[in-house]
């Protein structure tokens, strides 16, 4: 069975500093991995996905994620955090007909 884990409920980072939101996965076979962001009282917005190919995936709003097969990780990164990046972030992995989501990590960027 496939699953993802987000080990941090909360991540705080100063504005302008690099940010990392962690995600690890478990799957038999090749994973399809996704990152989403959710702002308060809004639906989830798709940020990026990894299907195959280059391990560094670039997405929306300057975010990128690095797929690491040996560590079974898919961490979300951004070189310089903005206050507007403060939100809830979800990692997800494909199932047979749906996605399995992590529990979410709340990112707070401190001015």
């Amino acid at each position: 069975a496939q699953s993802v884990a987000q080990p941090e409920d909360q991540v705080n980072v100063a504005e302008g500093n690099p940010l990392t939101v962690k995600c690890t996965y478990s799957v038999s076979g090749n994973p399809y991995l996704f990152w989403y962001v959710q702002y308060p009282n809004r639906g989830l917005q798709f940020l990026l996905k990894y299907i195959t190919g280059d391990n560094l995936v670039k997405g929306s709003y300057g975010f990128e994620a690095e797929f690491n097969k040996s560590q079974t990780s898919f961490h979300l990164k951004k070189p310089s955090a903005l206050v507007s990046d403060s939100a809830l972030y979800f990692c997800a992995i494909t199932g047979a007909n749906n996605l399995f989501f992590g529990t979410g990590t709340r990112l707070t960027v401190i001015p």
């Binding site: 399809y32 996704f34 989403y36 308060p40 009282n41 809004r42 639906g43 989830l44 917005q45 798709f46 996905k49 809830l88 979800f90 494909t94 199932g95 047979a96 007909n97 749906n98 996605l99 989501f101 992590g102 529990t103 979410g104």
Partner: protein, 112 residues
């Protein structure tokens, strides 16, 4: 381009009352459709998904039901709401199960 609509945006209902939430998708055909519930602004719980008209898969047994009367319409219903049904309900669509899902704006349901 594709868009997904949900209504109503907010709903306050008494315990024991019925429920009907509607989701429609525009700009695509034969999408996979999904209903999620999010409690307390955290994790997503998949409630139902559908790969075609009249085809509904239930992930969690409860007093909710779903229907897909048309290709791009997905309805979440209940005959009698419980306090525990309160939450943020999200509808999503995808081209198929292995693709990214695109979410609607959500419905905030409060059961009193």
């Amino acid at each position: 381009s594709q868009t997904i609509h949900q209504w109503p945006a907010t709903l306050v209902q008494p315990v024991g009352s019925p429920l009907s939430l509607e989701c429609t998708v525009e700009g695509t055909s034969n999408p996979n459709l999904y209903w999620y519930r999010q409690a307390a602004g955290r994790g997503l719980q998949l409630l139902f998904y559908s790969v075609g008209i009249g085809q509904i898969s239930s992930e969690v047994p409860q007093n909710l039901s779903a229907s897909r009367p048309q290709d791009r319409q997905f309805i979440l219903s209940s005959k009698k709401l419980l306090l525990s049904d309160s939450g943020f309900y999200l509808c999503a669509w995808s081209v198929h199960g292995y693709n990214e899902q695109f979410f609607g704006p959500g419905t905030r349901l409060t059961v009193l």
